[in-house]
């Protein structure tokens, strides 16, 4: 064949050799680019493939009471998680361990959700696995790819519902929380405080998480622990020392009327330290550890008593007669009345004002009283007239100045602001200009009307009366550094001691006679707040020893009907704190004077204010 002439073959050989050189050159260059130039990038990818970080949760700081007793601590627990591989294999693994680990399809979906959101970290299956489950899983480890069983510190609240509202609970961080600056550094699936002190001081308590690396196969199966060099040990969170007196807190939970809703707050009036904060009904914060079970969560949320609500700071009640001390203080401050001031009209069981008759709680009437006696008897007629003398503007001005509209700033999350009219223009908006009269002052004077206070807010008022008149923001761990640090009721020492004496009279001879303890003088004030939904709520706020108060305690019990029913609760709490035998208080049967101010009408609350133009004015006056 002529085309195989050597000369022609050599030309083709050269072309063939060139082709081989060219393609080998191309390969070498490509490998150079991948292996030498791209080495760092691919090295990283290879390590990412191979290594899975497993977070080592840090033990949260312990929470102590003022005497070093534990409110919240950590106990050893186990978590079970899976290193996620491809989704379908994760699903089949979960289906396989479902019967051992006791998880249903909803929880399986939740695990898959977790794996989807954070594909490079183990997806939590059981946050608090019982030892039996752990050992059953451990036996089948070979058949469960990617199984990670880890001993982790588990939050434990030894006193469960006694401290529930105070301490709060922990839970998995949510997407919404991670979007905030505060929780931005928390990894997906990390635990954060959800309520109470756990929430408020989460940054302190949380500690910093550690990490260890394991080597995994392409199927997500853990092959071995990786070199320990890169591992990072967790650092325990800082302990929290609170002002709580755990013994007192426990005592309160024992004597709180069983099955009742309400709250009790005890402060040191001279510092603002919270000694006890109890809300009922409670819940079990331990149930939230490792993920709350759906039935329990439902029962908490569907319970009409709303156990999660902290009634000391998250519920507003009309202050009722406890408010009379505020009005008395305003009158003293403004010089409108003194201790021995009498009102023009003596109490005959009610007061005619305009075309309305405002009743006193005691239809028999109290007769002619001075201010001291009026406080002791909680006489409404006296205070109607005192409110009139003060005038709406002054009442509102002082109420606002003393912080009765807003929050106290206690270092607990979720405190709701108290409600109080900003000024007369509030009534203009509510009823229309000139369509209301100073009759609103009658209601304001006895703690009814457009006035809803939280327990902590009212206790703070009494804290000022119990101390030198200076306002001290209540606190559990650290006092809020607010501008109101130097705020006070602006009363002289005489005026304060006089008000205290009036309150002693309440207990000694007035409406709270039943709570009198032989060895102890308690100053206090009952209150009964109108409740349109059922029986009235009862208040009592008191402090002792009356001469030099060391503790101020306020309590509200829903549907208690009378403040006097609450008084023994407070009295016994005080006695306990002061170390006085309380057996006597236990046996006391209370004679019940009804001090509620009968409310002639239901006022709209602030958020339902949409007065129609032609509505009948609620407190009508025809001039």
């Amino acid at each position: 064949m002529s085309s195989f002439h050597p000369h022609l073959v050599d030309r083709r050989l050269a072309a063939a050799r060139f082709a081989v050189w060219a393609l080998l050159g191309l390969l070498v260059m490509s490998f150079f680019r991948t292996q030498i130039l791209g080495h760092g990038k691919y090295q990283l990818q290879s390590e990412t493939n191979r290594l899975r970080p497993i977070p080592l949760p840090a033990p949260r700081g312990t929470i102590y009471d003022r005497n070093g007793r534990v409110l919240a601590e950590n106990v050893p627990g186990y978590t079970v998680s899976l290193l996620p591989g491809p989704e379908d294999s994760l699903r089949s693994t979960l289906a396989r361990i479902a019967s051992i680990a006791n998880i249903d399809s909803v929880e399986i979906e939740r695990v898959i959700q977790r794996a989807r959101r954070a594909p490079y970290q183990p997806a939590l299956v059981l946050g608090d696995a019982p030892f039996a489950v752990v050992s059953a899983l451990e036996e089948r480890r070979v058949a469960i790819p990617g199984l990670v069983i880890q001993a982790e510190p588990k939050r434990f609240y030894p006193d469960t519902d006694v401290v529930a509202h105070l301490v709060g609970y922990v839970g998995e961080v949510t997407e919404a929380e991670r979007a905030t600056r505060r929780f931005a550094s928390v990894r997906l699936g990390g635990l954060v405080g959800k309520d109470g002190l756990e929430r408020e001081y989460d940054d302190t308590l949380r500690g910093s998480e550690g990490v260890r690396f394991v080597e995994v196969s392409a199927r997500g199966q853990m092959v071995r622990e990786a070199e320990a060099a890169a591992n990072l040990n967790p650092v325990k969170g800082t302990d929290l020392h609170t002002t709580i007196d755990l013994e007192l807190q426990k005592f309160v939970s024992q004597i709180f009327p069983p099955g009742q809703r309400g709250a009790l707050l005890a402060l040191n009036p001279n510092t603002g330290e919270v000694l006890a904060l109890f809300s009922a009904p409670g819940f079990d914060p331990n149930a939230f550890v490792g993920g709350i079970s759906a039935p329990y969560w439902r029962s908490l949320n569907e319970n009409p008593a709303r156990p999660l609500l902290d009634r000391a700071i998250q519920a507003r009640y009309p202050p009722g007669s406890t408010w009379k001390l505020a009005v008395a203080a305003m009158a003293l401050k403004r010089g409108v009345a003194g201790p021995r001031t009498h009102m023009p009209i003596p109490c005959r069981g009610g007061l005619q004002y305009g075309n309305r008759y405002f009743r006193c709680w005691d239809a028999r009437g109290h007769g002619d009283l001075n201010l001291t006696e009026a406080i002791a008897q909680s006489c409404d007629v006296y205070f109607y007239q005192l409110g009139m003398s003060l005038g709406v503007t002054s009442l509102l001005e002082d109420g606002n100045a003393w912080g009765f509209r807003g929050r106290t700033g206690i270092d607990l999350p979720g405190e709701i602001p108290s409600e109080f009219p900003t000024g007369p223009e509030y009534y203009d908006r509510l009823y229309g200009p000139r369509r209301w009269t100073s009759a609103v002052a009658l209601n304001l004077a006895i703690g009814q009307g457009e006035n809803a206070q939280t327990l902590v807010q009212m206790v703070r008022l009494y804290q000022q009366l119990a101390s030198d008149g200076r306002l001290r923001t209540p606190f559990v761990v650290r006092q809020a550094a607010t501008t109101s640090d130097n705020a006070s009721l602006d009363l002289s020492a005489d005026q304060i001691s006089w008000l205290r004496r009036a309150m002693i009279a309440v207990v000694e001879q007035g409406t709270a006679r039943g709570s009198r303890l032989a060895a102890l003088t308690i100053a206090g004030k009952t209150g009964t707040s109108q409740n349109s939904h059922g029986a009235d709520h009862g208040w009592f706020i008191g402090f002792a020893p009356a001469e030099k108060p060391e503790i101020v305690v306020g309590a509200i019990v829903e549907f208690a009907e009378h403040g006097t029913r609450v008084a023994p609760l407070v009295a016994r709490t005080i006695a306990r704190y002061l170390g006085i035998e309380d057996t006597r208080a236990r046996t006391i049967r209370i004679a019940i004077p009804n001090d509620s101010a009968p409310q002639p009408f239901q006022l709209p609350t602030q958020d339902t204010v949409t007065p129609p133009a032609f509505s009948v004015p609620v407190v009508p006056i025809r001039p």
Binding site: M1, S2, S3, F4, P6, L8, V9, D10, R12, L13, A15, A16, R17, A19, V20, W21, L23, L24, L26, L27, V28, S30, F31, F32, T34, Q35, I36, G38, H39, K41, Y42, Q43, Q45, S46, E47, N49, R50, P86, E215, V216, S217, A218, R219, Q221, V223, R224
Partner: protein, 417 residues
Amino acid sequence: MFSRVRQLDKALVFSVLALALYGFATLYSAGQTDVPTFAETIWQRQLLWLGLGIAVAWLTYRTSPRMLEWATPFAYVIAVLLLLLTLLVGTGAGTAAGSKSWLSIGGVRFGQPAELAKIAVILMLARWLAGLREAPSSLRDLIPPAAIAALPCFLVLKQPDLGSAIVFVAILFFMLFWAGTKPSLLLLAASPVIGLALAFSTVAWGIWIAVLAILLLWWRPYVVEGLAIMSLNVLGGVLALPLWTRLAPYQQNRLLAFLNPDVDPRAAGWHVIQSKVAVGSGGLLGKGFTEGTQKRLAFLPAQHTDFIFSIVGEELGFVGVLVALSLFGWLLFVLLRIARRATDAFSSLCVFGIAALMFTHIFENVGMTINLMPITGIPLPFFSYGGSFLLACSIGVGIALRVAWESRQSGYGESGQ
């Protein structure tokens, strides 16, 4: 016998032995993983195949080219029959479980006829082309050799095994070139395929048609042929879409993943990405023999066959890659030299065909580990696990040794012409 051993082409023997040793070591490493794999013990079976390969190479070495030339038609017919049989009773294996590439006897997979058919096609093409008086100079002249390659190519495509089918086409073109066919004619012959490939973009296809028109005017083939080529190209552009939709989804995905592996990183792109990660993470010196993490933890797919070269890259680094490519280069140059010095056209074409076979496999297989080529499951000579292809390579090496011996007997010295 010993004189025969001494008369072996030393360069060819050493390059092949070096590659076989290198490949064997790599295959051993492929079985060393942290995840249980059946590849753990395949090096033992590969050892048997290597022994068998040496025997086959020796036997082929002892076969005269004239004998081979005589036996070629029978070999071709047998190869085609085996491929037909495979289509009828074939089974799949491994990553291509759905295809029919294997002949099994009593459930034991026996071999892949496609690999041996490649040698048969090389022989048959060599025999046909060597019988021509003049090199093919028109498209009509290309029809018979094209038919020789097309028949097994079509049968392999039906399995389906796109990779091997492409190898047949490559062998055809390389051998036509060695037989003296003008490159311009080869380009025209290949043009419909190029037209087909460029049809994904209307603009690219339009430019190609314009370039082709100019080339046709420039090279002035016969008018009928020119028109045929033109219409084939147009047809290619038109048929591209229906052909594309007829491809199996995995084939489509492979091609798409070649263009952009990140399109589907968990499925189609997975192989490419993980192979590239393995190679790239190897760096200059590699992670150490048997220490590649991508391989050990099963991130590297088909690490004992298609992606065995990724292990070289990962464990021995750029240096290991350079050594392997140098050995392959050496082998190819040795084969080219033998083809050049062959005493007759048949021998020369045979050896060049074998070189073309190796070249195609090497370039495609190595190229795909770093996404230079699309993924097709064709093995790497002397590295990938598998008996059939190793035997095909052994036959090829045997033929080349014989041809080298023949040319030396007829006066070509070691030092040149």
